[in-house]
Amino acid sequence: SAKSANSKDGYSEIKDKGFIVVGLDDTFAPMGFRDEKGEVVGFDVDLAKEVFKRNNLEVKFQPIDWSMKETELNTGNIDAIWNGYTITDERKEKVAFTNPYLENRQVIITLANSSIKSKKDLKDKIVAAQNESSSVDAMNKEPEVVSSLKNGEIIVLDTNNEAFMDLEAGRIDAVVADEILARYYISQRGVEKYAVLEDDFGKEEYGIGIRKTDKELLAAIEKALDEMRKDGTAAEISKKWFGDNIIR
Amino acid sequence: MILKVESINKSFHEKSAIKDISFEINGGEILSIIGPSGAGKTTILRCINGLERCDGGSIEICGLKLCKEENNQCIYPSPKKLRKLRSNIGMVFQGYNLFPHLTVLENIIEAPINGFNVAKNDAENKAIELLDMLGLKEKVNSYPFELSGGEKQRVAIARACALNPKLMCFDEPTSALDPELTDDIAKIIEKLAQEGMAVLIITHDMAFAKRISQRIIFIEAGKILSAINIKPFLSE
């Protein structure tokens, strides 16, 4: 489509069509995934629907391969990446981010009876994280910790779910993951089985990724999000999914 | 003249298999080639059928050149022309080469129907007539693996005869057959010749050769030793 080819702002075109395409990894509970009926649901999904309703736009959720997300965006297959998308410096070079709407921590999870109580205890231990996730990036920002791990490497697995299973199998000693996701899995798998350490690998923020040329679209999303923060709609959505208002 | 072979040569791995073979056959004539095992008889037949390329010499079929020698090389026409030419020749292989996935009847009618556009009914009738003459009526729907050695050989003969070519080549057509059937085959071949076909037979059976042929050529180690006339050839 023309969107990828030139540097024109694509918002008017989107408005002409009357719908916007949001790309998401539909396996990514609880931010965006499918329920039993195959409907795309989730915290980010509700948020996106509300934001674009306020702009008179319908939302089409396009499932994508998460590792191809920026390519999907920049070839114009999708108009926004909105799926627990962590703001990083590298990503800022490729896409434009909205202001953060959620804060997240990179937490360390162990089995409940583990002897690991702090980051220091990770020395010579096996630690896993999800492949290509911001958890890996966050750990790499503390190279002295990474090099103290067994073999000096992080084990990367395909999904957080598998990381938790590996933990239970006893082949790894700890998992580093997004707090929001981690809490979701812990609640699904049994709260009593796990311990979440005080120490973490830093905070980070979720934002919405837009093509750099689509400045008007960015502004429209920001405006709607601000309104929702003020009138309490955002808090409502947060409470629905997390039982708490964690919106920023 | 239907077939004219002029001093053809063929070697395998630099070892000569046939040397300077020349002979001719007219329509209605039956010619037998006799020679010890390994003498090059099958090789001659394969050269005439274009299955083996001669190293030198020329072969003419119904007045058209299958190959000719130029500057010590044997020149062949295009594959298409070759195929056209070859449709004048029928051949019964020493190893029969039946199609294992087709029944006896299907083996025989395959070429008439799919190569020469004969109507299926006509092809079938002709095939059954031939099978009947060869004592194989019961085996119409058998597959080759269900046949005895002699039965296979007879099917191969029937398959070739169904096409009515101008020249028919038989490579040891009676090797697996008893005297009675050999006689039946002889009668069939004679009938073909009476209808104007030229027939070339390879055989070890001297009695059979004498009974059936107008002429016999003796070869050994790839070379013609001698030729004898058995019966006067009338139609010439």
């Binding site: 489509s1 499918r34 039993e36 195959g38 | 299955l51 199609f99 395959e110 020469f116």
Partner: protein, 213 residues
């Protein structure tokens, strides 16, 4: 058991996509595979080398990369396909190469005597191939074809990379959502059923071809 029931809807939707891609690819790539085999066996140098090159590229790179190339790469030079078209295109191009090599093995294994018999009987090369060589070749390669077909049914899951959801994806979604491996086992069961059907079908073919030796 009730839980498995709740999975069914999305699984069946995914299954439909899986089967659609499977059938489309099969119907297109088997006949084209025969063409590839013939090209690969051609005595014309240019055709032969082209076929070898094509087979090399298609077998030499992962289907996943080929999907990415066709869907994300070709638009850069102005060739844009929608998701399903791109997927089918990539699958057919890829599987043609594999089927081509299998058909080649079958065709080459037929005794020369069969060609010679057909030739002296005056059958054209086309007729010889279709009526004499191919039927005998197919009998011999059925198990290898069955291997490839069964690989295909599972390869269909690669379409996730162009954003098409199918059976395996449906399982992964449920597995991640509900933090359990069970949905993946259900997916495995579906694949097992599909494979059982295919195995049975191929066994049927093999029996059909066993009338001769």
């Amino acid at each position: 058991m009730n839980y498995v029931g709740t999975l069914m809807y999305s699984m069946l939707v995914g299954l439909a996509t899986t089967i659609e891609i499977f059938l489309l690819t099969l119907v297109l790539s088997i006949p084209l595979g025969i063409v590839v085999a013939l090209a690969r066996l051609s005595k014309i140098q240019f055709i032969n080398l082209t076929a070898q090159f094509y087979i090399w590229i298609m077998r030499g790179t992962p289907l996943l990369l080929q999907l990415i190339f066709i869907f994300f790469g070709l638009p850069l030079i102005g060739l844009t396909f929608d998701r399903l078209t791109a997927a089918i295109l990539a699958f057919v191009l890829n599987y043609c190469a594999y089927f081509g090599e299998i058909f080649r093995s079958g065709i080459q294994s037929i005794d020369n005597a069969q060609y010679e018999a057909a030739e002296v009987l005056g059958l054209t090369p086309v007729k010889t191939f279709l009526r004499i060589i191919l039927p005998q070749a197919i009998k011999r390669i059925l198990p290898a074809i069955s291997n490839e077909v069964i690989t295909l049914i599972k390869d269909t899951s690669l379409v996730y990379v162009v954003g098409i959801g199918e059976l395996l994806r449906a399982g992964k979604i449920a597995s991640n959502r509900d933090a359990t491996l069970l949905p993946l086992f259900v997916v495995g069961l579906f694949y097992l059923i599909l494979t059982a059907v295919l195995t049975k079908t191929f066994k049927g073919f093999e029996e059909k071809f066993s009338y001769y030796r």
